[in-house]
Subunit: 335 residues, 2 copies
């Protein structure tokens, strides 16, 4: 298992990325981890750690893509950007997968251009696992494609189904399409058409779901366009933080509630861990002919380690092979 | 102040609606409240209360619209539906405003058909106040218009500005447009065009905001299409509940955290009240030539009372008059 890690991507790069790569190398001694980035910077970070496993190596990249750059322009201009080099290494078969916490759009463009799409897949989609009251829900797409056609939405469901079956080990996971009501007559024309495609398919399609169903865990896979998915992701990330802050204000108002908060702290900590996205690691870019795992911009070492685990599972369970089989089986049904 | 209340709309109708109308009548003895619904049912509910103020009256409606009906079909077919009768009373000047916790789409269609739109306004939008770390944020639209043109989005900002200035008493409230990144190059074509319209306008426009900004309170008014707004609303409503349930599970795991939870209970209760939508009352349907306040489907008596307060403020501060002035001033700038 050889995994490239974009050492320059993310708010806490390169420090936390390098630390995460080392954590992963220690946890899985048979993995080879390639840190891709400005070599002096990356080596300086590595030098801060007393016991770097030999399985961690450095691959130089002359530049990197800033968060405020246009993804497609930057990828075309900066041939030596760290995320581009990661994609190059994957295309050339030098690594099995790569992980980045940098510019999401740049990761999507670099992967699509260099790795290309899987045969029969029209658009890639980012699928992210979200914590719910029950088993996690896979939300796809959360930002790769803001104006998907009905077929794209259908293919997201198909790829989500494969991911859920092989990674989360659940047979016939249920699929819902995100809408503003449960009735078939609701929503945009694209959603109504996708609804019909899903209805005809062999997927375990349960129809429309609403915003409230995502975290209730009503279905295993929720399909949506990348604009809505991205907004849902960012809203939900922020709400937990806002609720935490508001609760703190209330708890501080008197000594008794303050004492209660101290006694209850282990429960708060456990909850925090339960709803912490970094526990779930990165989000796969489904549909490209290779393995690209996109990690949160604020990823710390633990999040990067978990993203490396997600990448290795993607490779190990041959998700792309199974997606190709699903595409083929769908095409045979159609013809 | 004369306000019609759709006694048949909402999950807890007519019981909680009738109870809410009575609460409001007691709080504001100079208001006249007209309960619109199946008269025997409504009178039976009223009879359960020992001291109904004389300012509460009943207006019969022969039918009502179920949640699973198509809004436009149902409004055309059921001339005597409670929400239609409410709109009729408002159009005929028998009441100054109406409140409904029933089918949102039906309220939008009935208002648009019967009250018509304000001169110069192209589409109505539902604006809802959301709690944040600071002052509340107005999110518009949350479901009236799922495919708005750039001009519609611009007009939502303009109407939100008026609402914020006169109801929340803040001069030059800030406006953001919901997008998936802060850069001007992000988002759909419609959003980019709306961005330009807003940039040219006299509104205090701060550019793109992201999902995380809504509850952080980064801007006072967040403009978005009704699909995204509806999903945001439902996701955020559900998350607080999910976090509460997960926290309860954790707190129950040992006696010490359980004790902590008991001591901290007043803080939890205060937080619950702080983030409870029913405290904010209903959401105005901005842009119609009349006053329609849409309340949450699960509204209890307190939520209905608050929605009646919101309706009365809308009338008292002459929001529609000020929207017409804003439209006119915009048209003069253009010409």
């Amino acid at each position: 298992m050889r995994i490239a890690v974009d050492a320059m991507g993310g708010d806490k790069a390169p420090r936390e990325i390098v630390a995460g790569a080392i954590l992963a190398a220690k946890a899985w001694p048979d993995y080879k981890i390639v840190l891709v980035g400005e070599q002096n910077l990356v080596r300086a970070e590595l030098d801060k750690h007393p016991d770097v496993p030999k399985t961690v190596t450095v691959h130089h990249a002359g530049s990197f893509i800033r968060m405020d750059e246009s993804a497609s322009l930057a990828i075309r201009k900066k041939k030596d950007a760290s995320v581009s080099i990661c994609a190059d290494l994957a295309r050339e078969g030098m690594v099995d997968a790569f992980v980045t916490a940098g510019h999401t759009g740049a990761a999507v463009v670099a992967s699509t251009l260099k790795l290309r799409l899987l045969d029969g897949i029209e658009r890639p989609g980012i699928g992210i696992l979200l914590p719910t009251l029950g088993t996690p829900t896979l939300l796809i797409d959360v930002g790769a494609n803001i104006d998907p056609k009905p077929l794209h939405l259908y293919q997201y469901a198909m790829m989500g189904d494969v991911y859920f079956r092989y990674i989360l080990r659940k047979n016939r996971p249920s699929v819902g399409i995100l809408n503003i009501g449960e009735e078939e007559t609701k929503g945009t024309e694209h959603i109504k058409e996708a609804h019909q495609l899903l209805n005809k398919s062999k997927l375990h399609f349960l129809g429309n779901v609403e915003g409230r169903d995502i975290f209730a865990g009503t279905v295993d896979i929720v399909v949506c366009d990348g604009f809505v998915g991205n907004v849902v992701l960012k809203v939900s990330e922020s709400i937990a933080g806002v609720i935490g802050k508001l609760l703190k204000q209330q708890l501080r108002k008197n000594p008794m509630t303050m004492l209660g908060a101290i006694l209850a702290k282990p429960a708060f900590d456990a909850l925090k861990k339960e709803i912490d996205y970094s526990e779930y690691g990165g989000a796969p870019l489904l549909g490209v002919d290779g393995v690209c795992i996109i990690s949160h911009g604020s990823s710390d070492a633990r999040a990067i380690k978990n993203a490396i685990r997600v990448a290795s599972e993607f490779v190990k369970y041959e998700i792309n092979q199974h997606i190709l089989e699903a595409v083929q089986s769908h095409q045979e049904e159609e013809s």
